[in-house]
């Protein structure tokens, strides 16, 4: 299980698990393969014969103009909405055969207010037939691992927005997912909290090396977090570019001044503006 690996470093610079795993095994097979995906809403075609490969163990941001179907794509990959045509596989398996985590944009509507934060985090384990004692042990281990300093006996409505979203992310991670989806997870948070949560998420990624796919409407965020930025066109949507972000982790405030970071961001912005102008 990838999640059990510790953070590895080369010359003191942490390297994400995907690289290590891939280099050591020499396995370059993509994690997610999308083939011939077609999706229409009424007469509007969002995706037509869309193909995509997503690498394993990478942090991928999806960015593109409004209405290009960023969320639609992630929701189809995660199996939340059906596809009209096409096939989405995870190492040859369907979404129902793998463990995955999904974090909704609206944490207020996604957490269960009748349960404590702790029970919310443990909830998915019920359906994996994990006995209660072990569920608690696993929540405890997760909380300890990420050094979460929250009173988890509180109910979600007693927490701030950022704390609630942190609980949502922990709930997605408790199943030790092979892949983690986040749909604009921080867009309802204030700026200070957003910065804090980005770093929390990055830390969890460095720690677990789980393939992570995030939809973002904030270019800074998309590039700051990602190993690769998936740039989408207007609908009918195609991949315009999929540049890598070759900036070491952990990234921090200094990253925003990094030359490579700004080069990639500038490149993404150019493409975005071309798409918007079309």
């Amino acid at each position: 299980m990838v999640a059990s690996l510790a953070v590895r470093t080369i010359d003191g610079v942490p390297v994400d698990q995907g690289d290590v795993a891939r280099h050591s095994s020499g396995n370059k097979r993509p994690h997610v393969t999308v083939r011939g995906l077609t999706k229409r809403f009424g007469d509007r075609t969002i995706y037509e014969k869309f193909d995509l490969d997503l690498p394993r163990g990478k942090f991928i941001s999806i960015f593109g103009p409004n209405g290009c179907g960023k969320s639609t794509l992630i929701n189809m990959i995660a199996g939340l909405i059906p596809v009209d045509e096409g096939e989405i596989l995870f190492d040859g398996q369907t979404i129902n055969e793998i463990r995955f985590g999904y974090v909704f944009q609206n944490y207020r509507d996604a957490l269960f207010p009748w349960m404590s934060a702790w029970d919310n985090i443990a909830y998915p384990l019920r359906f994996m037939k994990v006995p209660k004692a072990e569920r608690n042990a696993r929540v405890e281990a997760l909380v300890k691992r990420f050094d979460v300093r929250l009173n988890l006996q509180q109910y979600p409505y007693q927490m701030s927005g950022g704390q609630q979203q942190l609980v949502s992310i922990l709930r997605a991670l408790i199943v030790e997912p092979e892949i983690l989806f986040l749909d604009e997870p921080f867009s309802a948070l204030d700026y200070e909290m957003t910065l804090f949560m980005r770093d929390q998420l990055q830390r969890m990624f460095i720690e677990t090396g789980t393939t992570t796919i995030i939809v973002s409407h904030d270019l800074d965020e998309a590039v700051y977090l990602a190993d690769q930025v998936l740039l989408l066109s207007r609908a009918p949507t195609r991949v315009v570019d999929f540049p890598g972000v070759d900036v070491p982790r952990p990234r921090n405030a200094l990253t925003l001044a990094d030359a490579e970071f700004n080069r990639v961001k500038g490149h993404c912005l150019d493409i975005f503006q071309q798409q918007v102008r079309l």
Partner: protein, 253 residues
């Protein structure tokens, strides 16, 4: 007196004020003394009725019993029907008019019909109360289920919750609205109960007590019975409020 003690006593100021005005009206003979006995006389009638003759206590008990049965029956019928209707919006839309129509019909208009159907017995009053209450409950439960947040149900599904567990999520989601229905229904059931006891040839109950005391011009007794009816309504509301706060602590948050 410090601020804290003052704040704690604040809710009683109105009560003391009202009794003071009442006493003043009696002393000043603003209203015919036959129609408005003094607070002390009324209190003594209440005490006699409840603890000495026990007649008022008996009627009080009867009404409590019937109201409880009404509310229980209305919940037993209304909650499942509301859930079923709410589960399918299309189904609800096709019966919405009927529910809205009967909900808007003054429930007292069906007294004669219920008399014909069920006779003058005790249960007729229970059925009438349950009828009125169940419509309010059905309506609110159905809306609660329909408005259950899709995201939460979807979240449960994404986490692998089987269908019955997703139904649990929907039911918990609808609980705050269900409690609104229960409170509305309970209030309505009590109104109907008291009215039915007055009008439908009852042999006991608070409604009958109020009516009889009025016929006998026994004003202290009548006020005492009215007070009991108020106390009952208030207690039902308070009980449901406390239950809601205990079991639906997240409502409105």
């Amino acid at each position: 007196m410090n601020q804290k003690t003052l704040d704690r006593l604040r809710p009683f100021f109105g009560v003391v004020g009202l009794v003071a005005i009442w006493q003043a009206a009696v002393i000043g003979e603003v209203i015919d003394p036959v129609l408005l006995p003094s607070p002390a006389t009324t209190l003594s009638a209440l005490h006699t009725g409840l603890f000495e003759s026990g007649r008022l206590a008996f009627d009080f008990g009867k009404t409590v019993q019937r109201a409880a049965m009404s509310i229980a029956l209305a919940s037993a019928i209304g909650i499942p029907i509301g859930v079923i209707l709410g589960a399918s919006e299309k189904f609800y839309r096709s019966v919405e008019f009927i529910i809205d129509f009967f909900r808007s019909t003054p429930a007292s208009a069906i007294f004669p019909l219920f008399l014909l159907l069920f006779g003058v017995g005790d249960m007729t009053k229970v059925y009438i109360g349950a009828f009125g209450a169940s419509l309010a409950i059905i309506f609110n439960v159905a809306y609660g289920v329909m408005n259950a947040r899709k995201t939460r149900v979807l979240a449960a599904k994404v986490m692998g919750a089987p269908a019955w567990q997703r139904m649990v999520v929907v039911l918990l989601e609808s609980l705050p609205q269900t409690f609104i229905g229960l409170r509305m229904g309970a209030t309505l059931a009590l109104v109907l109960m008291i009215t039915a006891e007055m009008l439908l040839g009852s042999v006991d109950g608070l409604g009958l007590r109020i009516f009889e005391e009025q016929q006998l011009f026994n004003m202290p007794g009548m006020y005492a019975a009215i007070f009991c009816a108020g106390l009952l309504g208030y207690t039902i509301n308070l009980t449901l409020f406390l239950l809601e706060r205990r079991f639906v602590h997240w409502a409105g948050r």
